[in-house]
Symmetry: C2
Subunit: 89 residues, 2 copies
Protein backbone atom coordinates (compact mmCIF):
# COMPACT_ATOMS: atom_id res chain seq x y z
CA UNK A 1 0.00 0.00 0.00
CA UNK A 2 1.30 3.47 -0.77
CA UNK A 3 2.37 6.15 1.67
CA UNK A 4 -0.66 8.37 1.10
CA UNK A 5 -3.04 5.53 1.97
CA UNK A 6 -1.23 4.68 5.21
CA UNK A 7 -0.95 8.39 6.06
CA UNK A 8 -4.68 8.73 5.53
CA UNK A 9 -5.22 5.87 7.97
CA UNK A 10 -3.06 7.58 10.59
CA UNK A 11 -5.05 10.79 10.00
CA UNK A 12 -8.39 9.10 10.56
CA UNK A 13 -7.16 7.41 13.74
CA UNK A 14 -5.69 10.67 15.11
CA UNK A 15 -8.81 12.71 14.38
CA UNK A 16 -11.13 9.99 15.72
CA UNK A 17 -9.14 9.64 18.95
CA UNK A 18 -9.01 13.45 19.31
CA UNK A 19 -12.81 13.30 19.48
CA UNK A 20 -12.64 10.45 22.01
CA UNK A 21 -14.65 8.24 19.65
CA UNK A 22 -14.43 4.49 19.19
CA UNK A 23 -14.32 3.07 15.66
CA UNK A 24 -17.98 2.12 16.19
CA UNK A 25 -18.95 5.74 16.89
CA UNK A 26 -17.10 7.07 13.84
CA UNK A 27 -18.59 4.31 11.68
CA UNK A 28 -22.10 5.23 12.79
CA UNK A 29 -21.55 8.97 12.27
CA UNK A 30 -20.00 8.43 8.82
CA UNK A 31 -22.51 5.77 7.77
CA UNK A 32 -19.68 3.30 7.14
CA UNK A 33 -18.93 -0.21 8.40
CA UNK A 34 -16.89 -0.53 11.63
CA UNK A 35 -14.52 -3.10 10.12
CA UNK A 36 -14.00 -0.83 7.09
CA UNK A 37 -12.93 2.00 9.46
CA UNK A 38 -10.39 -0.42 10.94
CA UNK A 39 -9.07 -1.33 7.48
CA UNK A 40 -8.78 2.35 6.55
CA UNK A 41 -6.90 3.17 9.77
CA UNK A 42 -4.44 0.33 9.12
CA UNK A 43 -3.89 1.51 5.53
CA UNK A 44 -5.43 -1.69 4.19
CA UNK A 45 -8.24 -0.06 2.19
CA UNK A 46 -8.15 2.74 -0.37
CA UNK A 47 -10.96 5.23 0.23
CA UNK A 48 -13.02 6.67 -2.61
CA UNK A 49 -13.91 10.35 -2.86
CA UNK A 50 -17.35 9.52 -1.40
CA UNK A 51 -15.77 7.81 1.62
CA UNK A 52 -13.45 10.79 2.08
CA UNK A 53 -16.48 13.08 2.07
CA UNK A 54 -18.40 10.92 4.58
CA UNK A 55 -15.42 10.89 6.94
CA UNK A 56 -14.74 14.62 6.63
CA UNK A 57 -18.38 15.40 7.42
CA UNK A 58 -18.41 12.98 10.36
CA UNK A 59 -15.18 14.49 11.73
CA UNK A 60 -16.45 18.03 11.20
CA UNK A 61 -13.83 19.36 8.81
CA UNK A 62 -13.63 20.13 5.11
CA UNK A 63 -12.34 17.64 2.56
CA UNK A 64 -9.43 20.00 1.89
CA UNK A 65 -8.50 20.08 5.60
CA UNK A 66 -8.76 16.31 5.91
CA UNK A 67 -6.35 15.91 2.99
CA UNK A 68 -4.06 18.69 4.25
CA UNK A 69 -3.75 16.74 7.53
CA UNK A 70 -2.98 13.58 5.52
CA UNK A 71 -0.31 15.36 3.47
CA UNK A 72 1.35 16.73 6.62
CA UNK A 73 1.57 13.21 8.04
CA UNK A 74 2.90 11.82 4.74
CA UNK A 75 5.52 14.60 4.73
CA UNK A 76 6.56 13.87 8.32
CA UNK A 77 6.94 10.16 7.56
CA UNK A 78 8.96 10.95 4.42
CA UNK A 79 11.31 13.20 6.42
CA UNK A 80 11.68 10.52 9.10
CA UNK A 81 12.56 8.04 6.36
CA UNK A 82 15.30 10.36 5.07
CA UNK A 83 16.67 10.85 8.61
CA UNK A 84 16.79 7.09 9.20
CA UNK A 85 18.56 6.63 5.88
CA UNK A 86 21.09 9.28 6.92
CA UNK A 87 21.70 7.50 10.23
CA UNK A 88 22.13 4.20 8.40
CA UNK A 89 24.72 5.71 6.02
CA UNK B 1 -23.95 10.49 -8.96
CA UNK B 2 -23.45 12.88 -6.07
CA UNK B 3 -22.60 16.55 -6.20
CA UNK B 4 -19.02 16.13 -4.98
CA UNK B 5 -18.25 13.64 -7.78
CA UNK B 6 -19.62 15.92 -10.49
CA UNK B 7 -17.88 18.93 -8.92
CA UNK B 8 -14.62 16.98 -8.97
CA UNK B 9 -15.16 16.33 -12.68
CA UNK B 10 -15.66 20.04 -13.33
CA UNK B 11 -12.49 20.75 -11.33
CA UNK B 12 -10.38 18.35 -13.38
CA UNK B 13 -11.70 19.77 -16.65
CA UNK B 14 -11.09 23.38 -15.53
CA UNK B 15 -7.55 22.70 -14.31
CA UNK B 16 -6.70 20.62 -17.38
CA UNK B 17 -7.99 23.30 -19.77
CA UNK B 18 -6.15 25.99 -17.78
CA UNK B 19 -2.95 24.12 -18.70
CA UNK B 20 -4.06 23.89 -22.32
CA UNK B 21 -3.87 20.10 -22.15
CA UNK B 22 -6.00 17.54 -23.97
CA UNK B 23 -7.43 14.61 -22.02
CA UNK B 24 -4.69 12.50 -23.64
CA UNK B 25 -1.95 14.74 -22.23
CA UNK B 26 -3.41 14.69 -18.72
CA UNK B 27 -3.90 10.92 -18.91
CA UNK B 28 -0.27 10.42 -19.87
CA UNK B 29 1.03 12.77 -17.16
CA UNK B 30 -1.17 11.15 -14.48
CA UNK B 31 -0.55 7.59 -15.69
CA UNK B 32 -4.29 7.05 -16.15
CA UNK B 33 -6.44 5.94 -19.06
CA UNK B 34 -7.76 8.65 -21.44
CA UNK B 35 -11.31 7.30 -21.34
CA UNK B 36 -11.16 7.21 -17.52
CA UNK B 37 -10.25 10.94 -17.53
CA UNK B 38 -13.34 11.53 -19.67
CA UNK B 39 -15.54 9.56 -17.24
CA UNK B 40 -14.12 11.50 -14.28
CA UNK B 41 -14.74 14.85 -15.99
CA UNK B 42 -18.36 13.87 -16.72
CA UNK B 43 -18.88 12.78 -13.10
CA UNK B 44 -19.40 9.19 -14.22
CA UNK B 45 -16.56 7.65 -12.20
CA UNK B 46 -15.71 7.96 -8.50
CA UNK B 47 -11.97 8.51 -8.01
CA UNK B 48 -10.02 6.72 -5.29
CA UNK B 49 -7.47 8.47 -3.07
CA UNK B 50 -4.71 7.11 -5.33
CA UNK B 51 -6.36 8.58 -8.42
CA UNK B 52 -6.76 11.91 -6.61
CA UNK B 53 -3.06 11.86 -5.80
CA UNK B 54 -2.06 11.02 -9.37
CA UNK B 55 -4.18 13.87 -10.72
CA UNK B 56 -2.96 16.39 -8.14
CA UNK B 57 0.66 15.56 -8.95
CA UNK B 58 0.02 15.74 -12.71
CA UNK B 59 -1.74 19.10 -12.31
CA UNK B 60 1.01 20.42 -10.03
CA UNK B 61 -0.99 21.16 -6.90
CA UNK B 62 -1.45 19.54 -3.51
CA UNK B 63 -4.24 17.10 -2.74
CA UNK B 64 -5.65 19.64 -0.30
CA UNK B 65 -5.74 22.34 -2.99
CA UNK B 66 -7.33 19.99 -5.51
CA UNK B 67 -10.10 19.21 -3.02
CA UNK B 68 -10.44 22.86 -1.97
CA UNK B 69 -11.09 23.71 -5.63
CA UNK B 70 -13.67 20.90 -5.78
CA UNK B 71 -15.43 22.14 -2.64
CA UNK B 72 -15.60 25.70 -4.02
CA UNK B 73 -17.27 24.40 -7.18
CA UNK B 74 -19.67 22.23 -5.16
CA UNK B 75 -20.51 25.28 -3.03
CA UNK B 76 -21.13 27.46 -6.10
CA UNK B 77 -23.42 24.84 -7.62
CA UNK B 78 -25.30 24.48 -4.32
CA UNK B 79 -25.81 28.26 -4.14
CA UNK B 80 -27.00 28.32 -7.76
CA UNK B 81 -29.46 25.55 -6.89
CA UNK B 82 -30.85 27.62 -4.00
CA UNK B 83 -31.15 30.70 -6.25
CA UNK B 84 -33.01 28.73 -8.90
CA UNK B 85 -35.32 27.32 -6.22
CA UNK B 86 -35.97 30.88 -5.01
CA UNK B 87 -36.81 32.03 -8.53
CA UNK B 88 -39.13 29.06 -8.96
CA UNK B 89 -40.99 29.86 -5.72
Amino acid sequence: MTQIVSSFGVTVRQLREAQGWSQEVLAERANLNRSYIGELERGQAIPSLLTLQKLSQALGLSLANLLAHTERIAQTHAVKGIELTSIAC
